[in-house]
C-alpha cells in the first residue's frame, strides 16, 4: 500500500551576535559556567530586557535572503513554562506578529534510492521569529540534584518554520542543508552543529494520497544531517507499521537515540503545551524602517541560488555541478578564485573541485575551509592543463604533490619533468621508430585488427616516458598507421 510522507521543519539558528538578545552579556561559546550569566540572564527581579540591534539586523538579512516579507512592526510575547533552565518562568519569543513573514527556499534534492535523478524543489517558509535561548541543565554531578548553567540563557535565536512541503527524508535533509549553508553564507549564524548553533525539530506524519493530513509526531533537537535522515526513516516506518497494525498515531514529541537508531516518545505532562502566550509588557513593539531594510539589503552577498543561475547560464555548468559549487560560501569563493586563473574554461575548474578536491577532502575528513591547496595553487595548475603544458595524468601527480607538500605547480612540473611533449616533430619521430620496430603488428593492424591501436599508444607513451600530449599522439599515430 502506498503511503505519502509529510514533513515540516522548525530550525533554531543561533545568531552570531557578540551579546545576548536582551542584555550586554557575552555569548562566546565555552566560558566557565555562569560567568556570562548577567542579572538579565538569571532573571533577577526588577531587570528589564533591551533588544539587541544586531539580532534584529540578522533577522532582516534572513528575511531578505528568502524573499520574505519583513514586518514593519512586530511584537514580542511571553511563552510560559516551568523549567529550571528558564529562570523567568517564560521565554521571550514572538507569536502572532513575527519579524519575518512568508518566504521560500529552493533546494536541490539528491535522492538516495535507486537511480533517481537530482531535482529542484521550492520549500515555503512560513515565518521566522526572534527569541531567546534557555540555559543548560547538567545532570549527574551530584546525587539528587541538577546543575544549571545560564551562560546560554538569553542567546539570540531565529526560529525558522517551514511549511509541511517535504515528502521524503532526502528532501528534509536537502532543505536543512540548504538552510544551513544560507545562514552561514549571509553571516548570521556560525552553523556549528556540535555547539548547538543549528538545531532541527522535524514534524513527521503519513497519510494515504488524497486524504487529510495525518497526526504528526515531532522529532526534537536533531543536530546532525545523518541523524536527521535516520530518525525520519525510522519514524516514518514506525508510523506506517502502527497504522497498518490497526493502531492510531498520538500527537507526541519524540527523541532520536543515535545508538539504537530509534525514536522514542518523551514523557510529556498534560499541560506541557499550555504556553499562555501574551504580549510582553516589558517590551514595546519593534519597528523596522524601510531605510533600515534597504541598508541591510546592501550587505547581502550574491546568494547561492543566484550563483547557481549564473554558473548555469553564463558559465555553461550543469545545475547539479553549480549546486555542489555553491554548497558553502567557502566552496563558491574557491571556485571563483580558480576561475580567475582559467577564465575561459570554467568546466575544468568545476571538475577538479567537484572531483579531486572534494574526494581528497572527504578522504582526509577536512572541510573546504581547511583545504591544504589554495585556490591560487589549483588555478596555477589548471592553467598548465589548459595551455597543454601537462597532461591530465601529469596534473594528477602535480595535484598529489601540491596536496601533500605544497608549493607551486610550475616548480613541481619542472622538478618532476612532467612537461608533456607537444612538439609534433618529436612525436612523429617517436611514432616512426615504433612503426619500424613492430612491422609484424603494424601488418596485423592494417589487415583489420583495430584493437591493436591501444598497444601502439601504450608503446608510444612509454617511449615518451608518459610525457607525450595524448591527443596529439593519438592523431599522429592514427595518421601514420592508416597511411
Amino acid at each position: 500500500m502506498q503511503w505519502e510522507i509529510v514533513i515540516g521543519l522548525e530550525v533554531h539558528t543561533q545568531l552570531s551576535t557578540n551579546t545576548k538578545i536582551f542584555s550586554g552579556a557575552s555569548t562566546a561559546f565555552g566560558a566557565e559556567p555562569n560567568t556570562q550569566a548577567d542579572a538579565v540572564s538569571i532573571a533577577l527581579p526588577g531587570v528589564l530586557p533591551v533588544l539587541n540591534k544586531g539580532a534584529v539586523e540578522r533577522a532582516i538579512k534572513f528575511g531578505l535572503a528568502t524573499g520574505a516579507h519583513i514586518s514593519k512592526r512586530s511584537v514580542f510575547a511571553r511563552k510560559n513554562y516551568f523549567y529550571p533552565d528558564l529562570p523567568k518562568g517564560y521565554q521571550i519569543s514572538q507569536f502572532d506578529l513575527p519579524v519575518v513573514g512568508q518566504g521560500a527556499l529552493t533546494i536541490q534534492v539528491e535522492p538516495l534510492v535507486g537511480n533517481a535523478q537530482p531535482y529542484e524543489k521550492t520549500v515555503r517558509i512560513t515565518r521566522a521569529h526572534l527569541e531567546e535561548d534557555a540555559g543548560k541543565s547538567v545532570h549527574g554531578n551530584s546525587q539528587g540534584v541538577t546543575g544549571i548553567d545560564l551562560n546560554r540563557a538569553g542567546t539570540p535565536l531565529l526560529e525558522i518554520v517551514s511549511e509541511p512541503d517535504m515528502s521524503s527524508a532526502a528532501e528534509a535533509v536537502a532543505y536543512a542543508k540548504t538552510l544551513h549553508s544560507l545562514v552561514r553564507w549571509i553571516g548570521i549564524c556560525d552553523g556549528n552543529m556540535q555547539e548547538g548553533s543549528f538545531r532541527c525539530d522535524v514534524n513527521v506524519s503519513v497519510r494515504k494520497p488524497g486524504e487529510p493530513l495525518g497526526t504528526r509526531r515531532e522529532i526534537k533537537n536533531l543536530n546532525s544531517f545523518k541523524f536527521m535522515h535516520q530518525a525520519i526513516d525510522y519514524e516514518v516506518q514506525w508510523q506506517i507499521d502502527t497504522i497498518e497494525n490497526g493502531g492510531k498515531i498520538q500527537q507526541a514529541t519524540v527523541l532520536f537515540n543515535p545508538e539504537t537508531g530509534e525514536t522514542r516518545s518523551m514523557r510529556s505532562k498534560e499541560d506541557a503545551h499550555d504556553y499562555r502566550y501574551f504580549p510582553d509588557p516589558d517590551l514595546l513593539p519593534l519597528e523596522i524602517s524601510t531605510e533600515w531594510i534597504d541598508q541591510v539589503r546592501q550587505t547581502i552577498p550574491e546568494l547561492p541560488q543566484a550563483k547557481i543561475n549564473r554558473y548555469v547560464n553564463e558559465l555553461g555548468l550543469s545545475t547539479y555541478d553549480a549546486s555542489i559549487l555553491t554548497a558553502s560560501v567557502e566552496t563558491a569563493v574557491f571556485f571563483e578564485t580558480v576561475l580567475t586563473a582559467v577564465p575561459t574554461d570554467p568546466k575544468v575548474g568545476a571538475n577538479w573541485i567537484i572531483g579531486e578536491v572534494n574526494a581528497q577532502l572527504n578522504r582526509d575528513g577536512l572541510e573546504m575551509s581547511q583545504c591544504p591547496i589554495s585556490a591560487h595553487q589549483l588555478g596555477g595548475m589548471l592553467k598548465r592543463i589548459s595551455d597543454g603544458t601537462i597532461s591530465n595524468s601529469g596534473a594528477k601527480e602535480v595535484f598529489r604533490t601540491l596536496w601533500s607538500e605544497g608549493g607551486d605547480a610550475d616548480a613541481i612540473i619542472a622538478a618532476k619533468g612532467l612537461k608533456q611533449v607537444s612538439d609534433v616533430a618529436a612525436i612523429e619521430s617517436l611514432v616512426a621508430d615504433i612503426i619500424s620496430a613492430n612491422a609484424e603488428k603494424v601488418a596485423e593492424y592494417r589487415s583489420g585488427k583495430d584493437k591493436l591501436f591501444g598497444f601502439f599508444v601504450g608503446l608510444a607513451m612509454k617511449a615518451s616516458k608518459g610525457k607525450a600530449n595524448p591527443a596529439q599522439l593519438n592523431d599522429i599515430l592514427k595518421k601514420k598507421l592508416d597511411g
Binding site: 551576535t17 557578540n18 551579546t19 542584555s23 550586554g24 552579556a25 557575552s26 566557565e32 559556567p33 555562569n34 560567568t35 556570562q36 550569566a37 548577567d38 542579572a39 538569571i42 533577577l44 533591551v50 533588544l51 539587541n52 540591534k53 544586531g54 539580532a55 534584529v56 512592526r73 511584537v75 510560559n80 516551568f82 523549567y83 529550571p84 506578529l97 541543565s137 547538567v138 545532570h139 554531578n141 551530584s142 539528587g144 540534584v145 541538577t146 546543575g147 544549571i148 548553567d149 545560564l150 518523551m266 499541560d271 499550555d274 499562555r276 504580549p279 509588557p281 517590551l283 514595546l284 513593539p285 519593534l286 519597528e287
Partner: protein
Amino acid sequence: MSLNITDVEKVARLARLAMTPQEMQAAQVQLSNIFGLIAEMQAVDTSGIAPMSHSQELSQRLREDVVTETNQREAFQSIAPQVEDGLYLVPQVIE
C-alpha cells in the same frame, strides 16, 4: 463567562501555586470578576481601531551589539541556595 473550580485548579497548577480549597473558592470569585471586566471591554465596538500590543504608542529602542556586562558570578551566587563548580543546583530534573 465564569470559571468553575476545575479551571481554577488548572490555572493554579500552571502557575505552580499551592492553594487550599478555601483559597481556590476565593480565587474563583475574583477571577470570574476579572472575566466580567473583560466581557465588558469586549462588548465595546472597536471596529476600525487597530489592535495595540502595548499601552504606550512607542516603539522599542535598540541596544548596540557590544558587551557591557562583566562576570559577577560570585556576587550572584552568594545569594543562591546551593551552588557547585559554578553551577546553580536545583532538585533533580529528569528529562
